[in-house]
């Protein structure tokens, strides 16, 4: 277990996206968390952005060697590096702030993870119940495991809420090509989808633009993207990412840094304000259904679809 000598805690945060503060979604959420560490907990934080995946391990090791107390990974893409590095530097605490289901063999590894499937279910339910056309689409970036689980959740969630629903799925192929994301989304809309559930990272704005131009609605990922496009954001399924960073800070302060995965379930997710975009009745049933699922009164089968 790492012992923290002098305050302030010296931490490094690793992002794979460029310019996370501006990424509309998951990474922006993480970035807000980081700001909390700096502003509210007085941590001395260095942010490494746009770190290519193959370079993750080196970068993390580099921090550990140059005497950082905490190294924070922000994406499930970082798990490999997490597993590789944390055993090597027992003095440093390696925190994973993303979807994981197993710990590395090390006492100094800590994870704040979410039930990404459950998260998908909520999005699917919301979309299905809000859809008029009976067709919804999930648009994602690169086809990575976490994203596939999320989409499976959407499919099952949608079907459980509305059996006749058709769920389209599409990937733009990466996390940065905005035009590509835009056109891929436009095509889903063209195929009948009137609600888009999105998780496109850096290319989110491409999705938003397609949705806005076509005059349909979309559901934001992780953070509330209403401000990005008031016209076309129905709601966002919020996961309170900053709170995980709070928890991390607390754990460090109280020295509770033993290896564990703190899992945040559906009960921690919330549906953002809909600004009266749905008529009362629909919104009530929607919120009610989702509420029942969050309270566990309504169970949804866990099926792994191999979405393409």
């Amino acid at each position: 277990r790492p012992a923290f000598s002098a305050k302030p805690v010296k931490a490094a945060v690793i992002f794979s996206v460029a310019n996370p503060g501006n990424a509309a979604g998951w990474d922006e959420g993480s970035y807000r968390g980081v700001r909390k560490l700096i502003d509210e907990h007085g941590w001395d934080v260095t942010v490494a952005e746009a770190v290519p995946f193959p370079r993750l391990a080196d970068t993390a090791a580099n921090y550990a060697e140059s005497g950082y107390d905490v190294v924070i990974f922000t994406s499930s893409g970082h798990i490999g590096a997490w597993n590789e590095v944390s055993p090597k530097y027992p003095k440093t605490l390696f925190a994973m702030m993303s979807v994981v289901n197993a710990l590395p063999k090390a006492a100094n590894a800590l994870a704040f993870s979410i039930d990404i499937y459950g998260y998908g279910v909520m999005g699917g339910m919301a979309a299905a119940l809000a859809s008029k056309s009976g067709t919804i689409a999930a648009v994602g970036g690169a086809p990575v495991p976490g994203l596939i689980t999320w989409m499976s959740g959407i499919i099952e969630g949608a079907k459980s809420a509305r059996s006749d629903i058709e769920v389209l799925t599409a990937f733009s192929g990466d996390w940065s090509n905005v035009p590509r994301a835009r056109e891929v989304t436009a095509m889903q809309i063209e195929r009948g989808a009137d609600i888009i559930v999105m998780n496109a990272g850096g290319s989110t704005r491409g999705v938003l633009d397609a949705v806005e131009t076509a005059g349909v609605q979309c559901i934001g990922y992780a953070t509330d993207v209403y401000a990005e496009s008031e016209k076309s954001v129905l709601t966002s399924v919020l996961m309170n990412i900053p709170s995980w960073y709070e928890a991390l800070a607390l754990a460090v302060d109280e020295g509770r840094t033993e290896a564990r995965i703190e899992n945040y379930g559906p009960d921690t997710f919330t549906l953002a304000d809909m600004h009266g975009k749905l008529d009362g009745a629909v919104e009530t049933t929607l919120r009610d259904t989702i509420g029942r699922y969050q309270r566990g009164e309504l169970t949804v089968a866990v099926v792994a679809h191999d979405v393409k």
């Binding site: 503060g21 192929g173 035009p179 393409k308």
Partner: protein
């Protein structure tokens, strides 16, 4: 079939329009005898300026203007390096691209706090409901602008005195010089115009199409425009056609993804198409001076 489907048609026009602007820029530069490899960088700078301008000034059209101005600056830099000094055109271009990639994403971060992350929608600057508005209807404004400017470029190059002088500088600088054409001046002017077009193209991509900016948002589209010019054998008409063909390719790629299969495989289509086009264009009797570096 596909082409008659309006959604597809508009999709491919959205893709092709920025290319058209940029390609016109490349065409002008090369006709004057300068190989404009730096176009990718100029387009990227224009894209950022367009995004920033549109966001801060609250008008996509003003964003385009900013793009043009930024492009002109790039053109001036190019002129300084490849005409006044002059250094090797290809390598200057490549270095210029790298620098622009750095500068734009750097500036993007500096301005992230002040500029809105998405720019206003670009519409015809005419009052709603007027007959004119109804006439213009769904015509994509930028595509119309692109075609108009291309026509103007063609006319300028092949029908006017400046055009004749410009092309002579590109074909044989010694002949041009001994005919009293100030080759350096002609090329500098050409590069300013080329930069303006490249910048406009970039702005058309951000302020006119995706309404946001991200690092290296042009992703090689400047190079595609370059290829389009070779494909079009340095003739505006054919070059526009080449841009459209690329648009078709990329639009098809996007579409094909919904048939399943790996998106990246489909995304090779437009590049292969362009390659095929360049091959078909064959022994391109381009401006013989383009690429040469002599004081």
């Amino acid at each position: 079939m596909l082409l008659l489907d309006p959604e597809f048609l508009f999709g491919l026009l959205r893709i092709a329009t920025p290319l058209m602007f940029v390609a016109m820029g490349v065409l002008i530069a090369e006709r004057s005898g300068v190989l404009f490899i730096g176009v990718e960088g100029a387009m990227l700078v224009g894209a950022f300026a367009g995004f920033l301008g549109a966001g801060l000034l609250g008008s996509a059209w003003l964003g385009l203007v900013c793009g043009v101005l930024a492009g002109v600056l790039c053109g001036a830099a190019m002129a300084l390096l490849t005409v006044s000094i002059p250094a090797n055109q290809v390598v200057v271009g490549l270095a210029f691209n790298i620098v622009c990639a750095g500068i734009t994403s750097f500036a993007f971060r500096l301005t992230a706090s002040v500029a809105p992350s998405r720019t206003p929608l670009l519409e015809w600057p005419v009052a709603e409901g007027t007959t004119l508005a109804r006439w213009l209807g769904h015509l994509p404004p930028l595509t119309v602008l692109a075609l108009a400017l291309s026509a103007a470029t063609a006319w300028m190059l092949f029908r006017t005195a400046p055009g004749l002088m410009l092309r002579s500088a590109g074909h044989n600088r010694h002949a041009a010089a001994s005919a009293g054409v100030n080759v350096g001046a002609v090329r500098s002017v050409a590069l300013l115009a080329a930069g303006a077009f490249a910048g406009l193209g970039g702005a058309a991509l951000t302020a006119g199409w995706i309404r946001s900016f991200s690092d290296d948002v042009t992703m090689g589209r400047g190079f595609i425009a370059l290829a389009a010019v070779y494909f079009g054998r340095w003739y505006p008409g054919w070059t526009i056609a080449a841009c459209v063909i690329f648009g078709i390719g990329e639009a098809m790629a996007f579409r094909a993804q919904s048939f399943g299969g790996n998106p990246h495989l489909y995304l090779m289509i437009p590049y292969l198409l362009t390659l095929a086009g360049v091959a078909l264009a064959g022994r391109a009797q381009g401006p013989q001076e383009a690429g040469r570096t002599e004081p």
